[in-house]
Subunit: 342 residues, 2 copies
């Protein structure tokens, strides 16, 4: 059976269900625009551990276990975990996978990881290969900052285009249609579009929204072209972490292609913090779109506030090494379609 | 349709075909045990570029393009590339994906990447989601050495348990049954087993074979248990890069579980170099199993030397940061079954 439509879009004809989701965040995120929507808000972003890396791993594990617990599924019955984070060699996801003991497929899509894991996880379930599967993504301000930028102790100030890496882990449990869940009863995954790497030559590591916006626009256009849908058939089009400037850029780029996002568009990065928190252009990181999806967006679908959502997570695929060697920042965006079924 | 058997094994009932494969390596690998089997052997491991990282990226792209060219398929007609490498944030695969323009899913499985990409690529094709797809993995001695160990200029000597990272990129083109190929006409992918992270507490970064052997044993046992096959129904059981010590350890671990590998077992890492090349315990790296599979093993299946091969690629999932924080080295191994069809 052909399950591809157009050039880059996959159809999940069996409509895998989202059984449950969970989000663990730190205080800044818990005090932000989606206050009260997360499963656990940490007072201490070291989570009682002796390093930020171990704290992120514990956050990830907690989110994964909570998602299982909410759906009344034992971790040992989860058939695969598809996950990633921002740390070199994915140590957050790797060590969490060791402790959880779930068969594991490591993904690196930078901040596009949540959508990449849903795309591949959806296929595992829809194709009849595995069910249930866990899809997870994570980031932590303090682990990312010292790996990608400067030692925290330096106290460097951020330029106005910078975004703050979200400290948060999100986990979603996906399953074949036949499993009942006490959490979500109406949310299904119906399609996905694979991202292409797009690079317009941006080299400013403090302006990653601008580097990712063209890739995001490319994937939205590919999805609409492949499926024949128009943008107004979606109640919400969500991008991962373009931030304030990147979102504006996406809206402008889209307008030039006769695609009108206004009124149905949300960027997780631009929305997660409140303006008075003064985090420049908003949040970023693989955990940003993961916790907004798990904590806020799925609830809106379940409650019938929105019925069809195009969820894109956006990633900047450079490394400090490629940056120092003068390379520009390549962007990617993967998309999945989440729909409400009555 | 249920395509899972047992706990961790996926069946590819439509039997996706390997249309072509290519391997690009450096001089040491070209002079090794599989001399004459690779598509391109570089004289200069900088490949005319001004950094080793750019050289690795060019190697990767060359391998990907060669695989397409050999199968007479334009890169623009490839529906997805599933790939990874050892560098932080996967810059080899990311920048190659940008230049190739193929929809891209980044994977991080350390040296297990080749099997992870075949597992997921097989599902994309078998499930009817995409075809053809490229599965690629890469590593480079000089990029890995300076990232994971010491600056090359220090000229540190390797301890006796160390393995040398293979400089090589391998690419396989996978497709649905209906595409003819001038290269391979007989090789199909019939099943895959997802790895679990296994960690017996090894902390010596110069003895990664020992850290990975238990995971490899675990996946072989899971595959046999899930499918009901016994080891003697395989003509060859291949591990990725356990090296000389790690392979011995795997054989011993397996024996304790009443699993007898002798006579049908090959480790890509222990085999790729000749003893007189003096590379301690052999080769390692994501490129090691990729180029041995692409350059040597597929040819043996096509020529009917072997008819059923269990191919495992093995990964050590630590990072320099986790090592410095006192963590042990978690291992993983994914498996795929390659078979000859007359």
């Amino acid at each position: 059976m052909n399950r591809r439509i157009g050039k880059r879009t996959l159809l999940f004809r069996s409509e895998p269900r989202i059984l449950s989701a969970s989000a663990v965040v730190a205080k800044n995120e818990g005090d932000g625009a989606f206050s009260g929507r997360f499963d656990l808000v940490l007072d201490d972003d070291k989570f009682g551990e002796d390093s930020f890396e171990k704290a992120e791993c514990k956050m990830f594990e907690t989110a994964a276990l909570l998602a299982c617990q909410k759906a009344c599924i034992a971790p040992g019955d989860v058939r695969a975990m598809l996950a990633g984070d921002l740390l070199n060699q994915l140590i957050t996801a790797n060590y969490a996978a060791r402790d959880l003991g779930i068969p594991y497929l490591g993904l690196y899509g930078a901040c596009s990881t949540m959508a990449e894991s849903l795309l591949l996880g959806g296929m595992l379930v829809d194709g009849g290969y595995c069910s249930p599967v866990l899809c997870c993504a994570s980031s932590h301000f303090s682990t990312a900052e010292r790996q990608y930028r400067y030692p925290l102790e330096m106290g460097t100030t951020a330029p106005p285009t910078a975004q703050r890496t979200v400290t948060g882990s999100g986990a979603l449990l996906l399953s074949a249609q036949d499993v009942p869940s006490p959490v979500f009863s109406h949310i299904v995954l119906t399609a996905a579009t694979i991202g292409r790497v797009v690079d317009l030559g941006i080299t400013d590591m403090n302006n990653m929204g601008a580097a990712m916006a063209p890739a995001c626009c490319d994937t939205i256009l590919a999805h609409l072209e492949d499926t024949g849908y128009s943008e107004d058939e979606f109640d919400l089009i969500v991008s991962g972490d373009l931030g304030v400037f990147g979102s504006e850029m996406l809206i402008e780029l889209a307008k030039k292609k006769d695609l009108h996002l206004d009124g149905r568009y949300l960027d997780c990065g631009a929305s997660i913090f409140l303006p008075e928190q003064n985090f420049s252009c908003g949040g970023s990181g693989a955990g940003c779109s993961a916790v907004v999806l798990a904590g806020e967006l799925l609830g809106r679908i379940e409650r019938n506030d929105v019925r069809r959502v195009l969820f894109l997570a956006t990633g900047a695929l450079m490394s400090p090494t490629s940056g120092m060697q003068g390379e520009s920042i390549p962007g990617i965006a993967h998309a999945v379609v989440l729909e409400r079924r009555d």
